[in-house]
């Protein structure tokens, strides 16, 4: 079987998300539906020759802005939604040197 519980749990873990057994089971059934329809896509003649469409409009004009100095956001604003900080810095458990 192409999709199984272990694969789903591994993918969720990579995203730092934990799943219940029920959630895992639902994802399995949804994968099978998507995969089935993707078969239809691969059967469209010469599909590999079509240029992928990455964005809605192809005619954006990108003009570089003037290189002007702008104020960055005040540090107080940047920290206003952070649950744990000290002074100007976000506080987290020690990252280097063990748990």
């Amino acid at each position: 079987m192409k999709f199984n519980k272990e694969l789903i749990d591994d993918l969720a873990d990579k995203l730092l998300i934990g799943l219940t057994d029920e959630e895992n089971k639902l994802i399995l059934s949804e994968f099978n539906v998507i995969d089935e329809t993707m078969e239809l896509i691969t059967k469209i003649p010469n599909i590999s020759e079509v240029e992928p469409m990455t964005h809605t409009l192809d005619n954006f004009t990108y003009t570089p802005r003037e290189d002007e100095y702008e104020e960055s956001i005040p540090i107080e604003d940047a920290l206003s939604n952070c649950d744990s900080y000290e002074g100007r810095e976000i506080k987290v458990p020690k990252v280097v040197g063990g748990e």
Partner: protein, 488 residues
């Protein structure tokens, strides 16, 4: 309050009502709708009237979907991961509106981060349909649709990645409009799937939708996909003259023969669709049945799921609870982030993320992600080819009125009515302007019809919708139980 923007402006100008009175009335109704439909995350009880000028929007109350950033006002995206998040800046679409002296009344509840179509995944609970509170409001702009349909105010902001403005509008018997991609800046809108996300509005008339989007739109240095629309004046363009216009509908989706086991509701809905086309024909609009390769039509749903899940997985990787959002518990930073994300996300969007992650794994990208992008181009090219001949695509919205909440699931399943449920996603693939208007009732509940046109042709699309709206008696309708006591 159950008036159009034009009518309210007239009343404000001639002193029949003050902006303060409108705001108070709106707040009172917001609480009533909150009690009955759970439509809000936040009601701004300290809101007060604003100065009334010659600007048609001045002094008028409105609602903002909770995925628009609003400075100093709680903006949760209806997610536990942002349950206390208060932005320090305002989305461009909202700040553009603020220049018109409008008054925000509340932040409306929605499917978490826009990733759902039922209104059943908000962290504040199910959002109910004001026409029948046992039924869903549709999603993801559920609270915006419910509050406008209940007459709280004439308009609310929505966002639309697959059909999130246009389907709840149909289920709630109102108008939902998403303009051409990039006409309204997305800066400050919580991103779901950036290549498909659109800002827009929910109103009770086409004219109101034109007025509101005229005020929301404009090029923005903070959104490189926005473009200069200063020569487009939607409100001024509405003249209802549609003689000689040409529309088409897709046989493979609309024709009843595609649904041998059709329910009575579906039959009635499709018959009502054909009946509505007669109104347009009376106005001199030609409506043709067009056939499109069924194999291509059948891929719409999966193309959407692949692209939206993949883009969402990437966009929402910043939701860690470290820099903002409630801190998770754990011995190290990874455990803390995992705890935050596991507890914070609803079951539905966890599933979407896992699918997105699978699609983006290097070994799967070609089969899923890149192929979905290729088919997206084929579908958009086909539409653009048809738009050379036609002014727009006209289609029924969904399979009928709003489904019951009990027993409904926001799961990826497929049956033979999937194409009827999902075809509005074509509008997001191509960034096409697209509007839903109410076109009658099935089982005493409202149903909608949608018109989608080519990019930048918003004025034409709205004008056709306006002409059709004028032929039907559903303009500015409000759910019956919310009409009681109405005297404004």
């Amino acid at each position: 309050m159950i008036k159009t923007i034009e009518e309210l402006h007239e009343m404000l100008k001639n002193g029949e009502v003050t902006s303060d009175e409108l705001v108070k009335d709106s707040l009172k109704k917001a609480h009533n709708v909150q009690d009955k439909c759970n439509a809000f995350v936040t009601i701004l009880d300290d809101a007060h009237g604003s100065e009334v000028t010659d600007d048609i929007l001045s002094g008028i109350p409105y609602g903002i979907k909770d995925n628009y950033s609003t400075k100093g006002i709680l903006s949760t995206g209806s997610s536990n991961t942002l349950k206390d998040y208060v932005p320090f800046f305002t989305a461009t679409a909202v700040s553009n509106l603020e220049k018109h002296n409008v008054v925000p009344i509340g932040k409306t509840a929605m499917d978490e981060f826009g990733m759902g179509g039922t209104g059943t995944t908000a962290h504040t609970g199910n959002i109910l349909n004001p026409w029948d509170t046992k039924r869903m409001a549709g999603g993801s702009s559920s609270g915006s649709a419910a509050s406008v349909a209940a007459g709280v105010y004439p308009f609310a902001l929505g966002s639309d990645t697959g059909d999130s403005i246009r389907k709840p509008a149909a289920f709630c018997g109102i108008v939902g409009y998403k303009p051409t991609y990039g006409m309204i800046s997305r800066y400050g809108l919580f991103p779901f799937a950036s290549s498909l996300d659109h800002c827009g509005c929910l109103t009770r008339s086409v004219k109101d939708a034109a007025i509101v989007v005229d005020a929301m739109k404009g090029i923005d240095k903070n959104d490189l996909t926005s473009w200069d629309s200063s020569d487009i004046h939607l409100y001024d363009s509405l003249d209802g003259k549609v003689k000689g216009k040409k529309l088409f509908y897709i046989k493979e989706i609309v024709n009843l023969e595609n649904y041998p086991d059709a329910s009575l509701e579906l039959k009635e809905h499709l018959n009502n669709f054909y009946h509505t086309l007669d109104y347009l024909k009376e106005e001199g609009v030609e409506v043709d049945e067009v056939s499109i390769d069924k194999n291509l039509i059948n891929t719409i749903f999966s193309v959407y799921e692949c692209l939206s899940c993949a883009e969402a997985t990437s966009n929402m990787s910043n939701l860690t609870g470290i820099i903002f959002g409630p801190r998770g518990e754990g011995k190290n930073i990874n455990e803390m982030m995992k705890d935050h994300r596991t507890k914070g996300f609803s079951s539905l969007i966890k599933r979407r993320f896992v699918i997105g992650s699978y699609i983006l794994q290097k070994e799967n990208q070609e089969r899923y992600f890149v192929n979905a992008q290729r088919v997206r181009r084929l579908i958009v090219d086909k539409m653009n080819e048809l738009f050379k001949t036609y002014d727009g695509l006209i289609m029924p919205v969904s399979t009928g009125p709003a489904p019951y909440i009990d027993g409904s699931k926001d799961e990826i399943t497929k049956d033979n009515t999937t194409n009827l449920e999902e075809h509005l996603q074509i509008g997001n693939f191509g960034g096409f302007p697209s509007i839903t208007i109410p076109n009658g009732f099935v089982n005493d509940l409202p149903v909608g019809i949608n018109i989608t046109g080519k990019c930048y042709d918003d004025a034409n699309v709205l004008n056709i919708a306006f002409a059709l709206e004028c032929k039907m008696p559903y303009k500015n309708q409000v759910a019956p139980q919310f009409k009681e006591g109405e005297n404004a």
